[in-house]
């Protein structure tokens, strides 16, 4: 069965040179199809890059933020060390916590530097003490930990990054969705444009269709001559647009800071993703031209 289907695909690709010649070359629709397919494939590469990058970023942000938490201890100077030690004791005995450590003065200074400058007198400011918590794979019970901390270190506030993680993950997820939606819309527009071009070509070749029918051509034979031509043109145009789009993605300027824009593009095996664009474009062109040809041939009956 598979061999049978494969032979049909091969027949379609190889084509019938005689049938091809029966339909005269139509310069305008040929150029329109090539151009539309190339432009749409170019845009599809960017939409794909956006979607893949957003998906990757969403996963990374979720993973990074989910694996860490911060404990902030605000207490009078005299009680700071005692509450810090108590909090560390609670953390060491809490299941699901891989490690916990107090940030050094230098690390805290580095965190405050963007707001207060490089010479922050930490000793003279009532700055809370920060403890970095690294989660084990099984995770920990944040609510249970908070209850224990209330008793052992009342000045401790647990920040498990949920309020940061959720909107970031939601934003990245929405970007991913919008990227794929854009791809679907791009291919829908491509299908519409190819349908218009195919209809124009069929209308311009009404006499050819009439002559071919007169000499005994079946509608499937006539349709195939148009469908194959439009499908191959679309694949060619989409391949060109895909290559140009991929080059443009490679040439995107990279930002020094790590962020979304510096991450826009494909990575590793992800570079195979753009290869599906000409294939999908070919399928869209095949279906669009088939529908246009069937409709026109039915009307010409």
């Amino acid at each position: 069965m598979k061999q049978f289907e494969l032979s049909h695909v091969m027949d379609f690709i190889i084509g019938d040179a005689q049938a091809e010649r029966a339909v005269p070359p139509t310069g305008f629709t040929a150029r329109l199809t090539l151009f539309a397919a190339a432009v749409m494939a170019f845009l599809a590469v960017f939409a794909l890059a956006l979607s893949v990058s957003a998906g990757r970023l969403s996963e990374r942000w979720s993973a990074e933020l989910a694996q860490s938490a911060t404990l902030r201890i605000s207490a009078p100077v005299g009680q700071m060390q005692a509450q810090t030690d108590a909090a560390l004791g609670v953390l060491e005995t809490t299941p699901g916590i891989a490690s916990a450590r107090v940030l050094s003065d230098d690390e805290q200074r580095a965190l405050l530097e963007p707001w207060f400058g490089p010479d922050v007198p930490l000793e003279s400011l009532p700055i809370p003490r920060l403890i970095e918590i690294v989660e084990a794979d099984i995770g920990f019970d944040a609510e249970g930990l908070r209850l224990r901390l209330v008793a052992e270190a009342p000045g401790a506030v647990l920040d498990d990054h949920t309020r940061w993680r959720k909107p970031l993950a939601a934003a990245a997820s929405r970007l991913w969705f919008l990227g794929w939606l854009s791809i679907v819309l791009i291919f829908a527009v491509m299908g519409a444009m190819i349908t218009l071009a195919a209809n124009a070509a069929l209308a311009a070749n009404a006499k050819v269709i009439s002559v071919m029918r007169l000499v005994g051509a079946k509608d499937s034979y006539i349709a195939n001559a148009f469908v194959r031509r439009f499908t191959l043109r679309t694949i060619t145009g989409a391949a060109v647009g895909m290559v140009i789009g991929a080059i443009a993605v490679v040439l995107l300027p990279s930002a020094q800071e790590e962020g979304f824009l510096s991450d826009l593009g494909f990575a590793g095996a992800g570079w195979l993703w753009p290869l599906i664009i000409p294939i999908v474009a070919g399928v869209v062109a095949f279906l669009a031209t088939q529908a246009a040809a069937r409709g026109t041939l039915k009307e010409l009956r």
Binding site: Q18, G216, A217, S220
Partner: protein
């Protein structure tokens, strides 16, 4: 072979053909006459399934044309060669490719039938013009090419619509002789024409029957 039984055909409100019954038997030769606009072309179109009757039955090779799918009609067309008055060629293809078009659409390899094609082109006197495009041919050459295309599949029936309409007398005679030859090979031939001189010229060459369409009705005349 082709049978019309109480066939009527209307274009919109007006009835063009009414209550026509005739059977085109194998090997018969018919001239179809009548004034311009009487319905000769419509009659021929009914005979090759291009038009469906608005009443009555048309049977092509014992099958009612109404029961035929589009692909079935395409199959039937391969058994019916049609010569149009305006020839109907694909102008971007050389005349040899136009003549071979019925072979192409039927899935035959033109290469395999190359000798037949060459022979056929010689028969209609167009061998030297094989690579000319249709617009480069004279009226007579185009009519002969149309005839060659109509017979390349060795059809059972040949329907010719005013095949000599644009030809001088000498060329008309030559085309008629080609059709008579085909009839002698056993083909059914129907020639729609208003050229009575052509019909007279056929007398003695072939046993033909004259059909006349006038006032929506078909009358069968005497044999020539």
């Amino acid at each position: 072979m082709i049978e019309l039984e109480q066939v009527s055909y209307s274009y919109g409100e007006g009835e063009l053909l009414s209550d026509i019954s005739i059977s085109l038997t194998p090997g018969s030769f018919h001239f179809l006459t009548g004034p311009s606009g009487a319905g000769k072309t419509t009659f021929l179109k009914l005979c090759y399934g291009e038009l469906l009757p608005t009443a009555g039955h048309v049977r092509l090779f014992d099958r009612d044309v109404r029961s035929l799918a589009r692909d079935d009609i395409a199959e039937m067309r391969r058994r019916i060669g049609v010569v149009h008055q305006d020839c109907q060629f694909l102008d971007h293809l050389p005349i040899a490719d136009n003549i071979a078009l019925p072979l192409t659409v039927a899935g035959h390899s033109v290469h395999d039938d190359q000798s037949n094609l060459t022979e056929l082109m010689s028969w209609v006197g167009l061998r030297a013009r094989a690579y000319a495009l249709p617009p480069e041919l004279s009226g007579g050459e185009r009519q002969r090419a149309a005839l060659a295309r109509a017979v390349i599949m060795s059809p059972d029936v040949i329907l010719a619509d005013e095949p000599t309409g644009n030809l001088d007398w000498e060329m008309s005679q030559r085309l008629l002789q080609l059709l008579v030859e085909l009839n002698k090979m056993g083909k059914t031939v129907v020639i729609a024409t208003h050229d009575l001189a052509l019909i007279r010229a056929a007398k003695g060459q072939v046993q033909a029957r004259v059909l006349r369409i006038a006032n929506r009705h078909l009358t069968v005349g005497a044999d020539l």
